[in-house]
């Protein structure tokens, strides 16, 4: 072995091979290899005696849906050179504001497109969620079930949705794990865009280190059981995208008293009655959905 290694370049070649293998494994395990941790059981998520499938709606068309419990109105608007898709949602019970995991499985690198997850859940309206699967920490509470009780490694704004459907946004450092059991949904991405009707992001604030306009996804509350789901396009010639501050301005003009930023970029997708209605793109050259780990949706 010693004699083998003493030959010119052999040590270097062996070490390079080891390094390349380790680097490759690290990339595969981080981005590709699925780690399923818990399969979701539907018994835990039913909203009491609510029906398991969507009720036949009245006045259903490509811009709206209405039945006894759910009312959705879709509109598009242009803001800052960007097309925004807005769903104004009114529900009779918070149980119809639901979330779902890709492949109905909680874990890492478990992904499906927003439309696939929405189809599996029979969602009437769906947007991409907080992409919890990209992180090893951060609270995850979905449909009343606690999946992760660990705070995010960096201080993060979380959105708490209680069982009455009331939104509350605050730093995860102010929440104990014991507070989670009372919540219907907890999303960990952020930041909070609007708090008590006022914009709470600065003009230079950004998610992570992104410094340009991007496709965005946001959720907000106007009043009790009255919500706004917003997805904006970006990275294309038609839509440059929004900064966080611009996103907050749009949500404010729509009447949100509280609004929260969700995962954006190539993840931003809105699905309404089985159809993707925005232009999701990762690189601006091709319109296609990105696989995500979870969605927020309206349905039964």
């Amino acid at each position: 072995m010693k004699r083998f290694m003493q030959q010119p370049y052999r040590f270097g070649l062996c070490w390079t091979a080891i390094l390349v293998l380790c680097f490759g494994f690290a990339l595969l395990d981080t981005f590709v290899i699925p780690h399923a941790k818990r399969l979701v059981t539907t018994e835990n998520e039913t909203a009491g005696d609510a029906a398991q499938t969507a009720q036949p709606g009245e006045n259903n068309n490509e811009t709206g849906y209405q039945d006894d419990n759910i009312e959705i109105a879709i509109q598009t608007l242009r803001a800052y050179g960007t097309t925004c898709y807005i769903a104004e949602v009114k529900v009779s019970d918070a149980a119809y504001l639901r979330t779902a995991f890709a492949q109905n499985t909680y874990g890492r690198n478990i992904k499906e497109t927003t439309s696939e997850i929405a189809l599996a859940q029979n969602a009437i309206l769906a947007i991409n969620g907080d992409y919890y699967g990209a992180r090893r920490s951060g609270y995850v509470v979905r449909n009343g079930e606690i999946y992760r009780e660990q705070k995010a490694s960096n201080e993060t704004d979380v959105l708490l949705i209680d069982r009455e459907g009331t939104f509350q946004a605050l730093s995860d450092r102010l929440i104990d794990a014991s507070d989670l059991s009372a919540q219907w949904q907890v999303l960990s991405f952020g930041p909070v865009l609007i708090q008590y009707g006022q914009i709470s992001v600065g003009e230079d604030d950004e998610v992570g280190q992104a410094m340009v306009s991007n496709p965005r996804t946001a959720i907000g509350q106007i009043s009790q059981l009255h919500y706004i789901f917003l997805v904006s396009d970006g990275r294309t010639d038609e839509s440059t995208g929004l900064s966080l501050y611009q996103l907050a301005e749009v949500m404010g003009k729509l009447g949100c008293q509280i609004a929260y930023n969700l995962d954006g970029g190539g993840s931003s997708t809105m699905v309404f009655q089985g159809e993707v209605i925005n232009q999701p793109t990762t690189n601006g050259n091709r319109i296609s959905e990105r696989a995500v780990s979870d969605i927020v949706y309206i349905g039964y």
């Binding site: 003493q6 040590f11 270097g12 070490w15 390079t16 390094l19 380790c22 680097f23 690290a26 990339l27 395990d29 981080t30 981005f31 990209a134 992180r135 090893r136 920490s137 490694s153 998610v207 992570g208 280190q209 992104a210 410094m211 340009v212 991007n214 990275r235 970029g265 690189n283």
Partner: protein
């Protein structure tokens, strides 16, 4: 007689460090160009590792040990130093990939820790004289 061979070998190693730095610089620029405005300081700094950790150290070593034939021990320590520096650079690049993607990963840290330890051992081995073995026998 040894001098030209040693100098050639040393220059080859210095050139290798330079090329590695250049390749890391190009790779990090290209990767961050496609990052939609997201950048990583760790990735941007990775080209400095072979530059300052490797090339600069070798140049100082050559100046202070000009003409002297490096021992097998010194050559081994240089190998370990380079191995450590390459692991550190790989770890920093991986950190940047993870940072730009916005995900969590615990993998970059082992690269940095192992690389740091190896680079430290290699550096110490190059600069600190190897302890001499005591002579056997020697009646007074």
């Amino acid at each position: 007689m040894y001098t030209s061979g040693i100098e050639t070998q040393m220059r080859r190693r210095i050139l290798t460090c330079l090329v590695a730095s250049a390749l890391l610089l190009i790779a990090s620029d290209i990767y961050q160009y496609f990052g939609h405005g997201v950048t990583s300081r760790m990735m941007s700094l990775s080209p400095l590792v072979p530059l300052f950790g490797g090339m600069l150290q070798l140049m100082v070593y050559e100046c202070t040990h000009r003409g002297a034939k490096p021992t097998a021990y010194a050559l081994w320590m240089q190998n370990i130093l380079f191995a450590g520096l390459s692991a550190i650079a790989a770890g920093m690049f991986l950190w940047g990939i993870v940072e730009i993607a916005g995900v969590d990963s615990h993998y970059p840290m082992p690269f940095l820790i192992v690389g740091g330890l190896m680079a430290a051992c290699g550096s110490m081995g190059i600069w600190l004289p190897m302890p001499k073995r005591s002579e056997k026998g020697g009646n007074t």
